[in-house]
Amino acid sequence: MWYRIARKLSETYSRRFARAVRESYAEDEAYAPTPLGRCALALFLGLLFLLPLILGPYPMYVLSLTAIAALGALGLHLLVGGAGLISLGQAAFLGIGAYTASHLSGPLAPLGVLAGGLLAALVGLVLGLPSLRIKGVYLAIATLAFQFLAILVFNNWESFTGGIRGRNLAPAEILGHPLDSPGALWYLILAFTVPLFFYGKRLLSTRAGRAWLALRDNELSAQVAGVELVPTKLSAFLLSAFYAGVAGGLLANLYRTVTPEHFLFGVSVQYLAMVIVGGAGTVLGAVLGAAFVVLVPELLNTLVGALGPAYAGALAALRNVVFGTLILAFLILEPRGLVGLWSRVRDYLRTWPLPY
């Protein structure tokens, strides 16, 4: 009898709280299928809204950077982890978004960010066209070429980009309230990132998302199964560029200045690093990867600051070494990235008091 009671308890527990068993499509589709998960999600969103009241301007600034980077990384996730297409030009899309937003700043800021996303998406569509013919490594280098050409344009198209000096923005304004501190701007960032995150989370389990996954795994068998190559590849590029463009627009409003050096090849590499370190193909991975890539330099900064000014010059080099080593370590030791580490911990914890 004790055995039966224990078993019943364990089963109820795992249904209610542990997400181990999913019984309906509605459960499978839900963002958080268990009551506990729903509570956590609501609590998390509430916390996001209250953060500016708790934290000072500098932590909010770093947090804003993380959120924006996570958005850009999510776009790259959809492309790399979803459709299996590699892009070394994410920074260029960020730049397109940022420069567009720099023309529509002040009270028009939300519109500018959106326009930045749309314009980047348009360029992404154009860049996506060759991807129908160019494959694998050749595509990677074609996007690299795009990155360098974009920098050339940013540097030289004076009337749109302000050349090397770049452009300055007035602080964003909503209903007459200037959002001139990172804490205030946080709400503008949330207004864009939260919906886009929910959308991205759902995207990979929709028809379009599954078509991407099929394409990633095997192009030929995807075609046989009825996936149309052209719209699928183009939509992947389009969405990835849109996410990057919005991220760029927000970044412009955060920095309040846009110069070409914010969008160099190294930045594209950083975004790829976020994808790899976070774990390709999941939303959580984008957030974890972005947090990692943003926070590591900040941590190194404090560390180097503690060691003394003699080491300050070596900071950039040190950061490169740490990044490079981490990318290699993750690729060789934990290909699923931080998400892989996290899911192991979660698998252990979610049945924790009654593991069998």
């Binding site: 494959k135 490594v137 280098i141 690299l144 070429a145 050339l152 030289n156 080099a317 740490v322 690729l331």
Partner: protein, 291 residues
């Protein structure tokens, strides 16, 4: 006209160095399907090795001794970072070499500092004057070292026993293993060779104009060259290297005044156009997809 010829010759000389690096890059791609984004850092390591050896040895000896060291470095990279990732998808391998590039980039700066280093001693000045055309010593040295090395490599791949083995492994590793060809050793050899070829460029540049982090930019030019020539054609890389060198030199001479900064972008512009017309480069083999 003589300005044009001057640019042409300078371009061919730079192009010879590009070609040398691109051949190592393409060789690695053929044998292992790995795109080595760290090739610029290989060049840099070659340059710094020469600099370090030069602290105790005269310059020519330092340059010669760099080659076996760079070869060993290539073996090390293959064993440490490439072999564990065998069989993983393209994105993972590309990321791994980018990670390696970042790490090497930072490590060389930590070890040798960010400023330009100049070497003790000098290469003999070999300025040639052919009528109006003046070949600077730099160009003569590039041509003198890079061209024979490149041609020898093409010849060795076609004729020598090891060349045949390398091509066999590139064709099909499984079939090569079945024929009792020691494929892992051949792959390691190819990586070592690639690092050594890049180091020739690095050592030469170090000897001519010093060594500093900016040399990495030179490594980036490998991609347009390799793509233009077709990723799997060593001979194509040789020709494409010259082409890119000349294009770059001409754009520096004629276009830079109109659009500043275009010289760095010209090779990539050409690549984008070529890829649109021929998705497998000028001399690359079209990958046939079997159903």
């Amino acid at each position: 006209m003589s300005f044009f010829l001057q640019l042409l010759v300078a371009g061919i000389a730079t192009g010879a160095l590009y070609a040398l690096m691109a051949m190592g890059f393409v060789l690695v791609y053929r044998a292992t399907r790995v795109v080595n984004f760290a090739i610029g850092e290989f060049l840099l390591v070659g340059g710094y090795l020469t600099y370090t050896l030069n602290l105790v040895l005269p310059l020519p000896w330092a340059m010669v001794l760099t080659l076996p060291l760079a070869f060993a470095f290539g073996l090390l990279v293959e064993r440490g970072f490439v072999r564990p990732l065998l069989g993983r998808n393209v994105v993972a391998v590309i990321m791994a070499t980018i990670g390696l590039a970042l790490a090497l980039d930072g490590a060389t700066q930590l070890a040798w500092g960010p400023d330009q280093k100049y070497l003790e001693g000098q290469l003999p000045v070999l300025t040639l004057a052919l009528g109006e055309l003046i070949l600077p010593s730099r160009s003569v040295w590039s041509l003198l070292l890079a061209l024979p090395a490149a041609l020898a490599l093409v010849y060795a791949l076609k004729r020598s026993r090891y060349g045949v083995l390398v091509r066999a492994v590139a064709e099909s590793e499984v079939a090569a293993l079945a024929m009792k060809i020691p494929a892992p050793r051949i792959v390691a050899l190819v990586w070592g060779l690639s690092a050594a070829l890049a180091a020739v460029g690095g050592a030469l540049l170090a000897g001519l104009s010093g060594v500093g982090p900016h040399l990495i930019a030179m490594g980036l030019m490998v991609f347009p060259v390799a793509i233009l020539g077709g990723m799997d054609s060593v001979g194509g890389a040789l020709l494409a290297g010259m082409l890119v060198g000349v294009a770059e030199s001409l754009s520096r001479g004629y276009l830079e005044a109109l659009v500043p900064g275009i010289t760095e972008a010209t090779p990539f512009l050409i690549v984008l156009l070529v890829l649109l017309a021929r998705p497998y480069g000028l001399f690359g083999e079209r990958e046939i997809e079997r159903v």
